[in-house]
Amino acid sequence: MIDALEILLQANFWAAAIRIATPLIFGVLGALICERAGVLNLGIEGIFVAGAMAGWLSVYLGAPLWLGVSVAAVTGACLGLLHGCLTVILGLSQHVAGIGITLFATSAAYFGYRVAFPTVTTPPRIEPFQPLGLSFLEAVPVIGPALSQQTALTWLAFAATGATAFVLAKTPLGLAIRAVGDNPASVDAQGLSVAGLRMGALAAGSALMALGGAFLTMSAFNAFFFGMINGRGWVCIALTVFASWRPGKALLGALLFGAFDAYQLRLQTLAGGAVPSQLFLMLPYLLSIAALILVARKADYPRALMKPYIKGER
């Protein structure tokens, strides 16, 4: 019992929590931007895979790390625009389009991997992002060393949270994005382009999702594995509702989730073989469902979410 509580005081535990949270921060921010603009982006799971694969492959082929990150982001943005062509321009079902994008991006990434590496059995490795090792942080107990172990991409995720919060809350663009997700007709009446705003939000949001994937192959690990995303995208969709579409709460939710996941991993070693490992591995998914149930009653969905806007139609 004491051991189980002592975990909470270890810097390594918090470092792991933040590491697990990082891709989720990117993913939840991305999902939140899309949904605030009125589009449910279920392509997220596939965009994670595509981002992970595209970023890692570019670096493997000789690109610098940050160029790899950009390639991942552009890949995500393109998939977001494809989603937008189907759901915003053509007004098709966001559920089906999203599942379609996920299936397409996943199979394209896997197929691409097999084209590039037809026979390899051990995944080729790259030199990933290194911890920044910010020594001035070390003085802060527990959290300081945990933060100094993080790579630049984690700090990018924190910065993206701040930037998203600022843009959504304080800028005319943010106001327009929020309005287009609540009442697109009002945006149209202002002379702004509903489709343009939604496409932009999808591109930006999907780019962030892809960064979440890129973090996994370029910072958390150093290779691409089949099935490495393993439902992280769907967890982000649940966390977005949990965070009631607010960037600050999204960060908090992702960190809570990361802490919980890191905690169960440590409990697992503590429990030895007494409890089947799968029981622990189920917990993150069950936690996401529980979080969704918890907030479902008072969830304040963007009012025009999943409603295509066709000019002149009511």
Partner: protein
């Protein structure tokens, strides 16, 4: 200028032609991608068709593969018709398979006429009960069922792995995480001698007929369509929306569970955690290709099955990854989605305003 105009009622010809054109377009797009990778496209097409339908063996393999796809396709079609987004057929399939081995591998014994229906019913029941959770949460607490069903897929797969390493592990399996074999009395008979095609296909075809008549000729079928058309209007008209959603969810999950039971007692004979290469997700594509029509699910499932089986042959001969099949399936979904636009709208040239 070209304009979209709403179409009143699409003709039957159009409703049949559009999915076929979409499927061909998806195949064409995938072949372009294949050509870009430098594979010999001509030979690839030949191998794809030969593998899917070039011999009696190929045809029976395609029908074998179509069997679970018909059932997961029906599962998606019936749920989507009521706008219940059950994306959890993969998990429900595994739940059904687990239930089938739990009672079919020696827990109870009986003659074939008892055991065969029993294992199938157990599978259907398990899948249905699993979907009951998300359906109830949706109906009572308006918890989004897309996310809950998707996340449950992962939970169920982990649960299956846990069972296969624990209580259901085959003591004679030499340490492999697999279940004990199904009793001979519980195994479904083969349809063609020397081939893998089994009576599960008959079950799937009967299921398609039953779902079609359920939708056309029963009160529940009418309620399902009404809820799918406009839930609040249906509620206003006195249709029990929540109850309809829950019933739909149970039937949908049961169909997917039946698919899992069929794979175990008809084909594999035991359960491993890699039983399904994504039959649940491919079922969504099948349902969309079939425009959610239960009877059209059958040809749509055979098409998708043919792609999978053909791609296997192609990949063995050419060394092209069989993820190619997943690519065709994914593109089919996107193409048929775009195609659905032409069911609702027509393109018309209009003069300058």
């Amino acid at each position: 200028m070209i304009r979209f105009e709403p179409r009143a009622q699409p003709s039957l010809l159009l409703r049949i032609a559009i999915p076929m054109v979409a499927a061909l377009a998806a195949l064409l797009l995938s072949l372009i991608i294949l050509a870009l990778t430098g594979a010999p496209t001509g030979r690839a097409i030949g191998l794809l068709f030969a593998g899917a339908a070039g011999s009696v063996f190929a045809l029976t393999e395609t029908l074998t593969r179509a069997t679970p796809l018909i059932l997961t396709g029906l599962a998606a079609a019936i749920a989507f018709r009521s706008r219940l987004w059950n994306i959890g057929a993969e998990g429900q399939l595994y739940a059904g398979a687990l239930a089938a081995v739990a009672i079919g591998s020696g827990a109870i014994e009986g003659p074939p006429w008892l055991m065969m229906p029993l294992v199938c019913l157990a599978g259907a029941l398990a899948g249905g009960l699993l979907m009951l959770g998300p359906a109830l949460l949706k109906a009572k607490l308006s918890v989004d069922e897309v996310v809950t069903t998707l996340l449950l897929n992962f939970v169920v797969l982990l649960f299956v792995q846990m069972m296969l390493e624990g209580p259901l592990k085959d003591p004679m399996g030499m340490g492999w995480p697999q279940s004990a074999p199904i009793l001979d009395e519980a195994a479904l008979p083969k349809l063609v001698a020397q081939m893998r095609l089994h009576a599960g296909l008959v079950i799937a075809l009967v299921a398609a007929l039953l779902v079609a008549s359920l939708q056309r000729a029963t009160v529940l079928g009418f309620e399902m369509r009404a809820v799918g058309g406009n839930a609040s209007a249906a509620g206003f008209a006195g249709i029990p929306v929540a109850a309809t959603l829950v019933k739909t969810g149970f039937i949908s999950g049961a169909l997917a569970g039946l698919a899992g039971a069929g794979e175990v007692v008809g084909l594999k004979g035991y359960l491993t955690s890699d039983l399904s290469p994504g039959f649940g997700y491919a079922g969504i594509v099948v349902a969309m290709l079939a425009a959610l029509e239960p009877l059209a699910v059958v040809p749509a499932a055979i098409f998708i099955a043919g792609i999978f089986v053909g791609a296997d042959t192609m990949s063995r001969s050419l060394g092209v990854s069989n993820y190619f099949a997943d690519l065709v399936v994914a593109l089919s979904l996107l193409c048929v989605l775009v195609g659905s636009l032409f069911l609702r709208y027509r393109l018309r040239r209009v003069g300058p305003a």
